[in-house]
Structure formats: structure tokens, C-alpha cells
Amino acid sequence: MAADPRRAPRSRAGPRLADHLLGLGSVYGKTIRDSRRAILAAGGLPGLIVLATAAAVGAQFATAASRLELVAQAQLLPIALRGLLGEPIAVDTLGGFVSWRVGNTLPSILGIWSVLALSGTLAGEAQRGSLDVLVTAPISRRRIALQKLLGHVTAVSVAMAIAALLTFVAGAAFGTLPGDAIPLGAALGHFALTGLLMLLAGGAAFAAAPVVGRGRAAGIGFVVLFGGYIVPAYATTSAVLEALEPLSPFSWTTAHRPLAGQEDWLPVGVVALVAATLGALGVVAFDRRDLGRAVGLRWLRMPSLPAGTGNPFTRQLSDRTAAAIGWGIGIGVYGALIAASAEAFAAGIAQIRGISELIARLYPGVDIGSPSGVLQLGFFAFGTLLTGLAATSFVGGWAGDEANRRLDLVLSTPVARSRWAVTSGLGVMAAIALTVVVVGVFIGLSVAGPGGDVATPLVGLGVLALYAAAVAGIGLGAGGLIRAGIAVPVAGAVVISSYLLEVIGNILRLPNWVLQLSLNHHLGQPMAGRFDGPGLVLLAVLAVGGLAISTWGLRRRDLRG
């Protein structure tokens, strides 16, 4: 009997056990294999932060009396500042303090991984063309998307388990008072929420990517991530933010603080449900839509400069313009909302007795009585993180010229390597300037509306630009000197580690030499008109020096082959 041509013979031989173990047996396994470094980073980073924080708390607040003083001070904080720092629940215990001080911030940083991974896992591969090969394997599209999604969920779960384990160890190693021990279940409960918040933001990007493409999907994911983090923190200061607060998953889960001995699993389940729904939407969208075909959405396109075909400077700037304006709008809206509520915020704080001493300890040197001071407190720290990430993304675009071998063609023209390095690097710096100008427009309009002092915060934004230029200089220097591929990891590590060190460094009274390692420690309080002269020089040296090292390095090394 002739074989039915509609039925292909099935191979009995499946992947070998070794292939499965090496992550080459399935799409799921390959996704985890590709995530192994990220798993270690996303699990190790929060774990180390918790260990460092716990060690310092154990040393600084070793007595019951000092802990009670800490509780009293924390409860004096106005609601807006409580939101920024995290709700102070049982801060007299090691777990409660860790949860308050770093627990609320970590999802917004670790979530960057989920947004980048889940926006790019399908759309990015489709753009590169590698997905065409994968979908022609005898696996359904739905299964491919599902395995990639589950692969990332597994990777996040493993990373969070590592973080939870290190948190448990921190409690056992550095607890000095009764109640300092952190049960493993509590640590797992805490990082379960962290992982789910990451996956929710990533899920938004995953659902959007098959429809709008990788770049816009990442933008949507970041809005969910950072917007979700910022909105509840400042909801009491702005009617707009107050209206948006119910949409924030960070807001839903404020009562779930297992490290502080308080659990509220129902909203956590809702976060899980929303994340799963977004994931399912992404799977269905990928299954139904043309591969790699994003919808036009011209209204979602950022304005950009003309093509920039004059020279490497204009080319670099033109390619970064849309992203620069996008980052500028995002950071600018955040800053404008803070600025708009600054006077009411400052007036509210002024009515609370004893708050000045606490603020002085948390933020030494900031005049909380002025709107500029509030902008410094409420915007500058996180705005610095966001601007640093923007600079990192521009450095990533710069590095792409070599990684994608565009540079081979450019440098086969009579453009000297040094000229390309300098002009393209300046293009990155110009993109940073453009971002900060857009931020300045938003903040300036917001401050000028009620007749406030515009000049001071705008000059402060100049420091923000210098900080971002220093980050870019470090990334360009590493990329030019060693290879383009390390430019983004180096710049990103500087941004995130500087931010975290500054967030926990002061309150833990870490040694000065440790605090000095953070770039953020050298910025002064520029939004409030207080400048750190030597710090600004350091930033300028890093920016210019990085560009010079990049130029020197690129002249002497091979281009990527």
C-alpha cells in the first residue's frame, strides 16, 4: 500500500539526554541556556545587595533601642516619601528593614531583564531572520512562543530562588536581635512577588511585540515597569497619579511584605493572573500574525532628525534621535509631575515635626523646604537611574555599528578610525543632550506654570546630562578599548551599581571609600542648586577620557570579525 503523502514519517529518535542537559533539546531548554548568565546576575545581584544591607544593619542597629528609634523615624515619613522608599513595616527586624529599603526598588531594576528578554525573544529573532529557520522546524508557532515564554519564566524563577536563598542566609548570618532570622518561606514569598512584577512588565512587552515590533514593545514594557513603580509613590501629590494608581501592580501588592512578616497573597495571585494573561496574548498574537510584521502605528513613532547622511556624527545622532526623544518624554513627564506637586509636597513636609532631622540624615544637604529640594528628593535619584539607562541604550546603538559589521564598510572609506570614534562618540553625547533638553522642557514648563524658579532645576539637569555623558564615556571607552560587545554591560553595571550603592549606602553609614565608588555620590544636589565641584570635574573627565580611550583603543585593535 502506498504511503499517505499527507503524513510525513515520524522520526523515532528524539533529542538525546545530553542535548536536553546542554539546553539543545528544545526551544524551552535553549531559552534557559541563553539566559544562564542573566539568571546568575538577576539572582546574585539582589542576593548580594540583601547580604550587604543585612551586614550593615546588623552592625549599625545592633540594639533594640536603636531599632525603635529607626521605627519612629520611619513612621514620621510623609506618605510620598514612604512610597519612594517602600512601606515601613516592621523595620525593627532585619527582614522588615531589607524589605522596606530595597524590596520595593528591586523589581523595577530586575524587570529591565524581563522587558528586554520578552520583547526581543520573538520580535528580535524575527527581525534578524533566525526565527524563519526556527518556525520551519516541525514545531507549531504556538508551541515555540509558549516554550520561549516558559523558558524565561523558569529563568526568572531560578534567579529569584537564588536571591531568596541568599536572603535566608543573610538573616541567619547577620541577625543580631530576636526576630531577625528570615524564614526561607518568607524569602521565597518576597521574591515570588518580585519575579511576578518583573514578568508582568515583561509580559506586556511580550504581548505587544508581535504587533508593534521589538522597540515599541520594549517601550511599552518600560512604561508598565517604571510607571508602575513611580505612580503609587507620588499618587498623593498629584490628581493624575492618584487616578492612575489603581492600575499599578506595585500599588496592589503594597501589603505583601513577607520579609516583614506580613503576607497578602490575593493581590499577588492577581499579578500572576495578569502576567499569565499577557503571556497568553503574546502567544496567540505570535501564532496569528505574519512573522516579524509589525503594524504601522505612525502615531507611535517618535519624531526624528533627517536621515543624517552627512558624516558619522549626524548618522549616529539621527539613529539615536527617536530613542532620545522617547526617553526624554518618559523621564520628563515623571519630572514634570513631581515638579508640579513640589510646593504642596514641601508644605506638607514642613508641618511634620522632626522630619527635618530624618531627611537630613537620609538626604544630607537637601533643603526640603524649597520646591527645588523636593524635585531633588523626588525626581533626581530615580531620574538619574533612568537617564543612565538611556545613555546605556545609546551606547548600545553605537556598539551595534561594529557588531553588525557596518563599521567594516564605513572604515573602508577614507574615514580614519580616530575620526569615526570621535564623531560617532560625540553623536552619542548629542543624543544624551537631546534627551536632557526634552526633560528640561517638561520640567521647565511644569515649574514655570505656577511661577516657580526655572533656572535652578534646569541647571541641575545639566549635571544629569554630565552624569549620563560620564556613563557613556565609560561604555565607549570599554567598547573601544576591548570590544564593542562589552560597552553596554559595563555602562549598565555602572548605572545600576551606582544607584543601588547610593540608595542603601547613606542610611547604612557605609565607609566613605565605598560610597565614593558610586557615580551618584559625586552629583551633589543639583536640582536644589547645590553642586559638587570635584564631582563635576570627575564626571567631565570620565566623559572626555572615555571618548579619548575609545579613540585610542579603536585605533590599535582589530575590528570584530
Binding site: 536621515a307 548618522r315 539613529d319 567594516d408 564598510l409 572604515l411 573602508s412 574615514v415 582589530d558 570579525g561
Partner: protein, 298 residues
């Protein structure tokens, strides 16, 4: 006249990985020089060293008499380069991409650029990311050719091009030679290389194994000879003849490879009832495959 390209014991290694080893090459003015070899043999490495995109581990390379590491910009002014793998700016159209590279060079004849775009049948209005592989290759070709460089360095220039455009491309190459310009190209279209190149180098495992004029290579190569007899003839009657190898005899049909003159074969065949004699001249592909031990009995 000094050679346009000259390498002496040129070696490039990537850590412990081999790139090229002691490559000695010369490409003359108004010469089309083919560079053949399988994937990973070292063709791209050689070309990237010539452009100073990577630096030699040892040995030296000169282009226009200028050492590649000494003044690469002076070399680049006179060179057009097409990489084997490249990506350009997603958001730019083909026309904008071409304009950008024209601006980087300066002094490009826009009319000639337009002529190239038309001859290669390129729609320059689309964004680069929307192009097919072949159309991206056409953009790269225009970028490499538009300034009428004295030397073209082209790495797999016909990859992705349809046969018509391939034909046009080789016409352009021949025209460049007629203008006194030199072309150094690698290709897997051996038939076209055979027809277009003056000389060919074959590289294997990073080392040059043969460099010669096409005609010389053909002469040095074997011919395939087929004899048809009225009855069975033993193969061993031919095996002992000078230059003969790979003899096979099946029912009156004897095939063999012959290097050198075929007179002894004709005389030996004449002793039998010879009905027909056919010879096939070697082509570059035979030589290429023989160098890699993949030809018929190679």
C-alpha cells in the same frame, strides 16, 4: 609597474585559531584576480587585512605600495570594498545609504551612481531593513563601485544576486579592467571566475596552494579522455602510459585522466577497433575540486 596588492608571508591568527599563514600574493594593475577557497579558508581574513580592518600577526601587506597599517586612509581613498557579510542602517533607504557613503568619500559622480542603480535594477526608495538579501547586496555593490575606485576588493560579490544581475555585475567588473582598474574578488561562481579573472589564487586551510593564470592552470590540469571501441579492451593497456591515471574499462568504453600530451593514448588506441575518441578540457571547477580532493578521483 609595481603591483597594486602585495603580501609577503602574511599571517593572521585569532588567539589559537588559524586565520591565514604566510600568504604571498601579488595583484597587478588592470587585473581581475580571483580568490577561491571553501568557507573558512581565509579569504575574508586576507581581504580584511588588506583594508586594515584587522592587523597582521606577522608578515606585511601593501596596497598601492603603501603598507596597510601605515596609512590606511590613503589606501581607502582608492579602494571600493564589499564585505562578505554586512548590515547597514535599518532606517535609511537605499538611496540615503548610498548618499551617506558618497558623502564619506566625497567627489562621487552622482550620474554614475544613478547608472549603477539602474543597471543593477535596484529600487533605492525602500528602507534597508525591507530589502531582500539580494537587494541589500546591490546596495553594497553600489557603495563599493560608485566612486570608480582604482581597486575593488569584493568578498563574495554575487551572493544573493539573481543570474541576470550576476551577469551585469561581471560586465561591470570587465569594464573596470578595461579602464585599467584592478579587481580582487572571491566568489563561489567558479564558471564566472573562470570567464572573468585573469589570474586565480586557491587558498586552503589558510595557505595558498595555487596561484596562476587561468590558462596555465588549465594546462597543468588533467583532461578527461573517453575512448569507444568495437569490443572489450583491457584497462591495463593504458594504465602504464605516461600521464595516465584513473583508467576504467566497461564493455568497450574506456575512460581515463590524462596529464600532458595524448599522442601515446591515441597510438595505443589505434591498435584496436576505435570507434570514437572524446576529450573534455578541464575547467576551473575541476582544478578547484582536485585541489580539495573532491574531484572525480581527484
Amino acid at each position: 609597474m609595481p603591483p597594486i596588492i602585495r603580501t609577503e608571508r602574511l599571517t593572521k591568527t585569532y588567539g589559537t585559531h588559524r586565520g591565514i599563514e604566510e600568504v604571498d600574493l601579488e595583484v597587478q594593475a588592470a587585473e581581475v584576480f580571483g580568490f577561491l577557497g571553501p568557507n573558512g579558508a581565509g579569504k575574508t581574513t586576507t581581504m580584511r587585512v588588506l583594508l586594515d580592518l584587522i592587523r597582521p600577526t606577522s608578515g606585511r601587506a601593501e596596497v598601492f605600495g603603501i603598507e596597510t597599517t601605515a596609512d590606511p586612509v590613503a589606501i581607502h581613498r582608492r579602494v571600493g570594498y564589499l564585505p562578505g557579510e554586512f548590515d547597514l542602517y535599518d532606517r535609511l533607504t537605499g538611496a540615503e545609504t548610498i548618499e551617506y557613503f558618497a558623502n564619506l568619500r566625497g567627489g562621487v559622480d552622482r550620474a554614475y551612481t544613478a547608472e549603477l542603480v539602474e543597471r543593477l535594477d535596484l529600487d533605492p526608495s525602500r528602507r534597508f531593513r525591507e530589502y531582500s538579501k539580494g537587494n541589500k547586496q546591490k546596495v553594497g555593490l553600489v557603495v563599493a563601485l560608485q566612486h570608480k575606485p582604482e581597486l575593488l576588493v569584493l568578498d563574495e560579490p554575487t551572493a544573493g544576486l539573481d543570474p541576470l544581475v550576476q551577469h551585469t555585475f561581471f560586465e561591470i567588473v570587465r569594464a573596470a579592467r578595461s579602464d585599467g582598474r584592478s579587481v580582487f574578488l572571491s566568489s563561489h561562481i567558479i564558471e564566472e571566475v573562470d570567464r572573468t579573472c585573469d589570474r586565480v589564487a586557491i587558498i586552503r586551510d589558510g595557505r595558498l596552494v595555487q596561484v596562476d593564470r587561468i590558462e596555465t592552470i588549465r594546462l597543468l590540469a588533467f583532461q578527461q579522455v573517453e575512448l569507444v571501441f568495437g569490443g572489450p579492451v583491457a584497462a591495463d593497456e593504458f594504465e602504464a602510459l605516461p600521464g595516465v591515471s584513473h583508467v576504467a574499462s566497461v564493455e568497450g568504453r574506456v575512460t581515463m585522466r590524462v596529464s600532458g600530451p595524448i599522442g601515446p593514448i591515441v597510438r595505443a588506441a589505434a591498435r584496436h577497433d576505435l570507434l570514437d575518441l572524446m576529450t573534455r578540457a578541464p575547467n576551473l571547477e575541476d582544478v578547484f575540486l582536485a585541489q580539495y580532493g573532491r574531484g572525480d578521483g581527484g
